[in-house]
Amino acid sequence: MDWTYIQGILMLAGINMIAVLGLSLLTGFTGLFSFGHAGFMAIGAYVGAWISASPASTPAGMGLPFILAIVGGGAAAGVVSYFIGRISLNLKGDYFCIATLGFGEAIRLIFNNVNRFGGARGWPGVPSNSSFLAILIADIVAVLFLANLVKSRHGRNMIAVREEELAAQIAGIDVFRSKMTSLVISAVYAGVAGVFFAHYMTFIQPKMFSLTKSTELTIIVIFGGLGSISGSVLGALVLTALPEVLRAFEIWRLVFYGAAVILIMVSRPKGLMGGLELTPSGIRKWTAERNALRQAKATLLAEDSGRKED
């Protein structure tokens, strides 16, 4: 394995990581599950391609700088997600999932039919702008943004919604707004990931953004552990690399992948990190919680035996 090959896998993992971090906010921190985030990636990818592709290529683009493609792709996904959220965020549990699935597939089918963007045949002329460095910077920004968000009142409100929606409302939290903020941010992340993806592959096609892609993102979030940013980072690295490593088995790799998904669900429901953060403060918090539990057990035992002696 040479460096270019490894670098390629890392870049793909880094791109996936952006989308996964976004979905982690929605799923891990806000408790909403989406099977439509590939749709937001598609929007980012196509809008990004449209902004940066050369006007001379077919389909024609605008030939603007890459940075504008990133901004435009992310913003477009965010705007679309806002309208989807208006419609679907009030739905309960399973039905929100189903709605996102419907929207995700609808977005893909729409791109299938838009000839301006190449239709089902795809868009071949996307400039190759996704450099290793650009992806790395995007990942760092994405992690910092998320880490600061979840440790603010806005982020805590989202966590409260995940934990107990009714109690969150009663605690004066505008649940709908928290969900909406979370959804839009996660869609922007997905959109940006889509832009990077398009400029990494240099060729995009609607069928790259199918339900399977959405599922893959959710699987990575769960594999990493709900409510853990470090889990999402590790999850994206491991689960993007895994199918690539399995590429030697070529046709069997997705069979293994499916089996692995079932195995993860069945055996390790808390995921890699199980809500824990691999940072100094995260570890401190974890130890504090463990000590508190041990102490509480000790006090209760003491009280119990005290009562018996009475």
Binding site: R156, E164, L166, I170, A171, G172, L293, A296
Partner: protein, 260 residues
């Protein structure tokens, strides 16, 4: 005394069932009012109506002279009404401290951008929130359990934590739904003192649902009795304990309970 909460002809129907039937009563500013009645009498439904979780079929709810019917629950909480739940609803996987800290959010107003960029206003206000949460835990004797995951807290303390979380919102009116459920007489006794103390210290008004008659008779200045959704009596503890209809309602249900 002026009324902080004024309920008139409040009615709620679920399909054919009238859970609350033209009930009227008020809670005076600074008062502790008890809401009692047999199982299924409609007590919790009234809480759900006041806090905006259900919309009334008809009738009015006025809080400090303004109608709050049709407002969303979080707005009602914003205005100063908050509650605890009969079947405890804590943020289960968060620590005791984080439960309270989350509920303190109304005492901060830094913007989204300030949070992401960690600007000074964010830092200052977060410090203030942390101090406030610590202080509340201290007042309510929960500091020892600060880092415990709420779900691991003993039952009685979970109920107390729910009250702390409610207090974090700086409420003016606190609704307690069976706060003594599952507590032993000792703990109930403690709770009674606690209710009176928070009313005095925090200057709020309390409406409490309870089945423990000792608690109700001990702390409530005024008691409202419901049966099958209707108000059958109201008055002081003395008046209620002598009321023939109330005695019948309770005896009636206890007989049914024996039959069942």
């Amino acid at each position: 005394m002026a009324a902080i909460l004024h309920i008139r002809d409040l009615t709620k129907q679920f399909g054919g069932l009238t859970a609350v039937d033209a009930v009227s009563f008020s809670v005076p500013e600074g008062g502790i009012v008890g809401l009692i009645g047999p199982n299924g009498a409609g007590k919790t439904t009234i809480f759900n109506l006041i806090t905006g979780i259900y919309r009334p079929t008809s009738g009015s709810i006025e809080y400090r002279g303004k109608s709050i019917v049709g407002l969303e629950p979080f707005r009602i909480a914003d205005m100063g009404i908050t509650r605890t739940f009969q079947n405890i609803r804590l943020f289960k996987n968060l620590s005791v401290f984080d439960n309270v800290l989350t509920a303190c959010h109304l005492s901060a107003n830094y913007s989204f951008a300030e949070a992401i960029l960690r600007l000074p206003r964010f830092r200052a206000q977060e410090k203030h929130l942390t101090a406030k949460a610590e202080e509340l835990l201290g007042i309510m004797n929960l500091s020892d359990y600060r880092d415990l995951i709420a779900n691991n807290l003993p039952y009685g303390l979970q109920r107390r934590l729910e009250i702390v979380r409610a207090l974090a919102l700086n409420p003016k009116l606190l609704l307690l739904d069976e706060p003594a459920a599952g507590m032993n007489p000792d703990e109930t006794e403690q709770l009674m003192r606690l209710i009176v103390r928070i009313r005095d210290d925090f200057g709020l008004s309390v409406l409490v649902i309870e089945h423990h008659m000792d608690l109700i008779m001990g702390v409530c200045e005024h008691i409202v009795v419901l049966n099958f959704g209707e108000k059958i009596a109201e008055g002081s503890a003395d008046e209620i304990s002598k009321n023939a209809q109330v005695i019948e309602a309770y005896l009636g249900t206890s007989e049914e309970a024996v039959d069942a």
